[in-house]
């Protein structure tokens, strides 16, 4: 028996309307590439240009590394949560850990001359440079939550 061609679904590649992605994983760096792949995919869908996608991906990566290392002390029994909310004009990212958090006031400025040659301490500075809004909050349930927002038409240009 021979069937005629059915008119199948006409589907166009639409741009992002609304998507939310929650990842939670044990505190190990093996998940970094997964997180970054998700970031690359979703920022592409929203329509960020290549540079913005790179800096957003790096900002998320830095925050996740901090959550694993500083927040959860690399204790694999502790969980890192990453929540990405995409809409047509922006990406909001939350990164959560189970640690004590830290005092923003105490963060040394890596561009101060006495810090310039320190081998670490640049992560949050980069995140703040590349994302539009960055805030840190201790969660009522315990643990730190980093919130980052990047708007599609950001007035913050590439540094």
């Amino acid at each position: 028996m021979i069937f005629p061609i059915l008119g199948r679904f006409a589907i166009s590649k639409t741009t992002v309307t609304q998507a939310q992605i929650d990842l939670s994983f044990s505190s190990a760096v093996c998940y970094l590439d997964l997180v970054q792949d998700v970031s690359d995919n979703i920022t592409k869908l929203i329509g960020f240009d290549e540079d913005a996608r790179y800096w957003i991906g790096m900002s998320i990566r830095e925050s996740v590394i901090n959550a694993i290392q500083h927040g959860n002390d690399e204790d694999e029994s502790k969980t890192v949560g990453v929540c990405l909310t995409a809409s047509s004009d922006r990406l909001i990212v939350l990164v959560r850990d189970e640690g004590e958090g830290f005092d923003e006031e105490d963060l040394p400025d890596p561009t101060d001359s006495e810090n310039l040659l320190k081998p670490s301490g640049r992560g949050i500075f980069y995140v703040r440079s590349f994302m539009d809004d960055v805030s840190f909050a201790r969660r009522p349930e315990g643990g730190l939550e980093v919130r980052m927002e990047k708007r599609l038409n950001s007035d913050k240009e590439k540094q």
Partner: protein, 113 residues
């Protein structure tokens, strides 16, 4: 997906590359085949060696093309099935439906048998 067309000994070969899936224009092959039939080219060989991905709707697309061509008295055959595509055709018993070849010369020759 990309389709390139060439003609060898009266047989139209469509070199398909990329993904044959929903959202990647799986209808492209179907449209191409319809155009060929309209212009009287009824012997069609689909070279699938450079297809990187195919899903159930891509397999359905191949079946659609097969039935259309057959309905119009033509022949549609397959060349260079990837291992994954062969598996997909095999488990849905479609390998018995399609005539497939590993070698272009043999495929071309089979049209005039």
């Amino acid at each position: 997906m990309k389709i390139e067309e060439r003609k060898v000994s009266g047989v139209t070969i469509l070199d398909v590359s990329g993904k044959i899936t929903i959202g990647e224009g799986s209808a492209e092959i179907r449209n191409k085949v319809r155009d060929l039939l309209e212009s009287g080219d009824k012997d069609i060989l689909l070279n699938l060696g450079n297809v990187s991905y195919v899903d159930s709707s891509g397999i359905g697309e191949l079946v659609s093309c097969y039935t259309t061509v057959t309905n119009q008295g033509g022949q549609l055959k397959l060349l260079n099935l990837t291992r994954k595509m062969r598996e997909l055709l095999a488990i849905t018993k479609l390998l018995t439906v399609f005539d497939d070849y590993k070698e272009e010369g043999a495929a071309i020759a089979s049209f005039s048998e």
